[in-house]
């Protein structure tokens, strides 16, 4: 458990997060879950367009990005923002599994993928750990 503890320590450094998802219920639960784990949820967006604006403005450390959005999808949205090297670490999420999206997840440039039901402080910390 020492490794997990280390990661938690890292996460406790008050990282900022923007949540992008069209389901308000999910956004609220995810925000509560992450904040209780020490993340600072600085923004939450319901569609791709407002997400691009918010990310540019808020410059979060992490973006929790739903694949399926009303106006676009997570993969396309990633092409519109700068990822890594000054940009945010992007974690894709969906109620489907990564395999349902074939090779696109691997090629997207996202740090990882978390099935929504599996979302927790620990699973997020595992994905956003420095690569």
């Amino acid at each position: 458990m020492s490794a997990a503890g280390g990661l938690c320590d890292h996460a406790l450094m008050a990282r900022t997060v923007v949540i992008v998802d069209d389901h308000a219920g999910f956004r609220a639960e995810a925000a509560r879950l992450l904040e209780s784990a020490g993340y600072e949820v600085v923004g939450s967006c319901a569609d791709g367009h407002s997400a691009v604006v918010a990310i540019a403005e808020l410059r979060p450390d992490v973006v929790l990005l739903d694949v399926q959005l009303p106006d676009t999808d997570g993969f396309r949205l990633m092409a519109q923002i700068t990822v890594g090297a000054g940009g945010p670490t992007v974690v894709l999420t969906s109620s489907r599994e990564a395999a349902d999206y074939g090779a696109r997840v691997g090629m997207s440039g996202a740090a990882g993928f978390i099935t929504k039901a599996e979302l927790s402080a620990r699973s997020l910390a595992q994905v956003v750990a420095p690569r």
Binding site: G25, E29, S36, S95, Y101, G102, A117
Partner: protein, 715 residues
């Protein structure tokens, strides 16, 4: 020289009807050179016969010379035209044997007639002309038994031939040792051996020899009769020619003996038999035989009736009125008048009677043509007319199967066939065929029916293997095809059928479109259910899971470990339920297929399969949704089957686009034998494929793995 087999092959032409039959026996192909043996033997025969005739003409030996020349010549000709037919060689052997006997006997007859002759070795050469007779008779009999195809009618006849050969050999040996045949053949020169006991041997010979000769005749006549009864088509016609020639030979012999008190006329008729037999093998104007027999019988019967009537009037009336044997002009005139009056009615009756005798209820081909025209004018029943046309073609060209098609080049349907379809099959298939496919099913000849330059139908026929269409049959077929065009036109079948075909194809297109719509609607429904599951129930449950997670976290931090564990437990169960729900949603319709396309979806299937799956799929574009979905479900089913039943250790999935068609192949290295297991999942998919004009083939030999191929046109 072209072989019989190649000729038969040349008769099978592509169904464009361009060239139906090859000219019979004209080729000198480069592959096999003609044997010189027939020519050599012909020269030997000619030398023996010419040499024999140089010694004079003897009635007792004339038939041997004629038989030698006729059989050798016909044999050589048949060998040249039909090297594959053994009858040619049998004729040749028969001819040469007779040539040898002819020469030997001429030699003996000449020496017997010329006391002062100084020919050398007279007794030996003459002997050569006499003793082979029994074995030559057997040879001649076997030749006739093997007519016309060179083989005995059945293997059982081999026993008969063996007995004949044994008896012939025994008799030949006796004849070689004692002069038992000398007196019968007017030979007066001495026999080369003097073994004694001649009288006893001659007594036995009188009984045994003649009985054997008689039985030889019985054997070959029986054989020909048996063959004639079993034969059909061309063989029956060949045999009829032969029997006709033999019958005419017998008539000539009887007339010759009765009228001229000499067998010369009959003997001169002998060469006709091999000549006619040879012509029959080469099938010259073969279908006319019934007409020839018919006319011969009518002429013969009328000659008999006229003679009888004349004799009856002249002799009978003369006796009654007491006129003596001297010719009486009045009576002759009366007889002539009576004969003239009754001739035509009698001829018609005889003709009708003989027609029934020769043809049964079947007309001659040309009569059928004439009858067809009459039926047309009478307005006969259409079905009758068409069936009559089919049977006329079959009779005329000796086909084993004939089908009459009507329609356009894309849509041809069967309207009549011969032999007539029986019972259940009475309703002819309504599935239209195009003109290119008519040659399928072993049909050897396809003739398009053209009218005013437009294709209106076709006649297809099948001849027995090895049979070709002779020039005459070809011509007759041409006439019948021309008539068929008129028949179709006159009965208005063309227009009505076109209309019906049009309706059928419109209905078929509608049905197909409907089926396609149903499948598409079904797919759409499944996609919607999957999406609804994802957007609705799944999202709520996911939120619930997170809620439970948060609750568990809070309970843990407030120290209520039991509540925390209970909430965590609930969350885990919910996560499992969600995983099941996802799996179910994928089964309804895989999201990856909608979003990523077939290529990605097949890789996804491969990753999730229980067996190692090698995927080689290259598609450079997205395909129509229904095509993608169908291909996906086929591969999914195939992989499931491979994992469940095949015992395979690996599976390969290949896919590519070729000429606007999607080709998918799933092959495994398992136990095969999947045909028997078909029917469940794959049948449903085959139906689905049919709505897309797709094709599914399963190749699964026992022990040879299973290979499933799908082909779907996708524009």
């Amino acid at each position: 020289m072209t072989t019989g087999a190649t000729l038969a092959g040349a008769g099978v032409s592509p169904p464009d009807g361009a060239r139906i039959s090859a000219p019979v026996g004209k080729g000198t192909g480069p592959d096999s050179r003609p044997s010189r043996l027939p020519l050599l033997l012909s020269v030997v025969c000619a030398a023996l016969v010419v040499g024999g005739f140089a010694l004079g003409a003897y009635l007792a030996n004339l038939h041997n010379g004629l038989i030698a020349v006729a059989f050798t010549a016909v044999g050589a000709f048949v060998i040249r035209r039909r090297p594959g037919n053994r009858v040619g060689w049998l004729f040749m052997a028969t001819g040469i044997a007779h040539a040898v006997m002819f020469f030997g006997r001429q030699y003996g007859l000449y020496s017997g007639a010329h006391e002062a002759s100084t020919l050398p070795a007279v007794s030996w050469v003459t002997w050569m002309g006499v003793w082979p007779l029994p074995v030559v008779l057997v040879l001649t009999g076997v030749t006739l038994m093997c007519f016309p195809d060179g083989a005995l009618p059945s293997p059982r006849w081999r026993l008969v031939v063996a007995v004949m050969a044994a008896a012939g050999a025994l008799l030949t040996a006796v004849s070689a040792l004692w002069p038992v045949e000398y007196a019968d053949n007017s030979i007066s020169v001495p026999h080369p051996f003097d073994l004694g006991g001649y009288d006893a041997v001659q007594t036995v010979w009188e009984v045994a020899g003649r009985t054997a000769y008689f039985l030889f005749q019985v054997a070959w006549v029986t054989c020909v009769v048996v063959r004639l009864r079993r034969a059909s088509g061309d063989e029956a016609r060949q045999l009829k020619w032969f029997v006709y020639a033999v019958a005419m030979g017998v008539v000539a012999m009887v007339v010759s003996v009765i009228a001229f008190r000499s067998p010369v006329l009959g003997v001169l008729a002998v060469p006709v038999i091999p000549v006619v037999a040879g012509a029959a093998i080469l099938k010259y104007r073969l279908y006319d035989i019934d007409v020839v027999i018919n006319k011969t019988l009518v002429v013969g019967a009328m000659a008999g009736i006229v003679t009888a009537a004349y004799v009856a009037v002249v002799a009978g009336a003369g006796a009654v009125i007491g006129v003596s044997a001297s010719p009486n002009l009045a009576l002759s005139l009366l007889a002539t008048a009576i004969v003239a009056v009754v001739f035509e009615p009698a001829r018609r009756r005889v003709q009708a009677w003989i027609d029934r005798l020769v043809y049964g209820n079947r007309p001659t081909p040309y009569e059928a043509l004439a009858r067809l025209s009459t039926q047309l004018l009478d307005g006969s029943q259409r079905g009758e007319l068409l069936a009559g046309l089919a049977s006329t073609v079959a009779d005329g060209v000796g086909a084993s199967e004939v089908t009459l098609w009507v329609g356009s080049s894309d849509d041809l349907v069967t309207v009549a066939s011969w032999p007539p379809p029986a019972g259940e099959e009475k309703r002819l298939p309504a599935t239209p065929t195009d003109v290119e496919s008519l040659g399928d099913g072993g049909r050897t000849h396809v003739r398009p029916i053209l009218l005013h330059g437009k294709l209106r139908g076709a006649i297809t026929l099948t001849k027995a293997p090895g049979e070709v269409l002779t020039a005459d049959e070809d011509r007759l077929l041409g006439d019948l095809v021309a008539q068929a065009g008129l028949v179709i036109d006159n009965v208005g079948l063309g227009a009505e059928l076109q209309e019906r075909l049009h309706q059928i194809s419109v209905q078929a297109a509608e049905l197909r479109a409907a089926a396609k719509r149903i499948v598409a609607a079904q797919d759409e429904t499944r996609r919607r259910i999957e999406r609804d599951l994802h957007d609705g129930a799944q999202q709520r449950l996911v939120t619930l899971a997170l809620h439970l997670q948060a609750g568990a976290d809070r309970a843990a931090s407030s120290g209520d470990r039991e509540l925390a564990r209970s909430l965590e437990e609930a969350r885990l169960q919910l996560t499992e339920a969600l995983a099941e729900l996802r799996e179910m949603a994928r089964g309804i319709h895989p999201a990856i297929l909608t979003q990523e396309g077939l290529d990605a979806a097949l890789h996804f299937l491969a990753e999730r399969s229980q067996l190692p799956v090698h995927v080689a799929v290259t598609l450079d574009r997205r395909l129509p949704q229904d095509v993608e979905a169908t291909a996906y479900f086929v591969v999914s089913e195939a992989l499931t089957n491979a994992a469940k039943h095949s015992g395979a250790s690996s599976v390969a999935v290949e896919g590519r686009l070729t000429d606007g068609r999607l080709l998918i192949q799933v092959s495994d290295n398992g136990v095969g034998g999947a045909e028997g297991r078909r029917g469940s999942g794959l049948q449903g998919l085959a139906d689905r494929l049919a709505t897309l004009d797709g094709r599914l083939t399963v190749d699964s030999a026992e022990g040879g793995g299973t290979r499933l191929r799908v082909e779907i046109p996708c524009g």
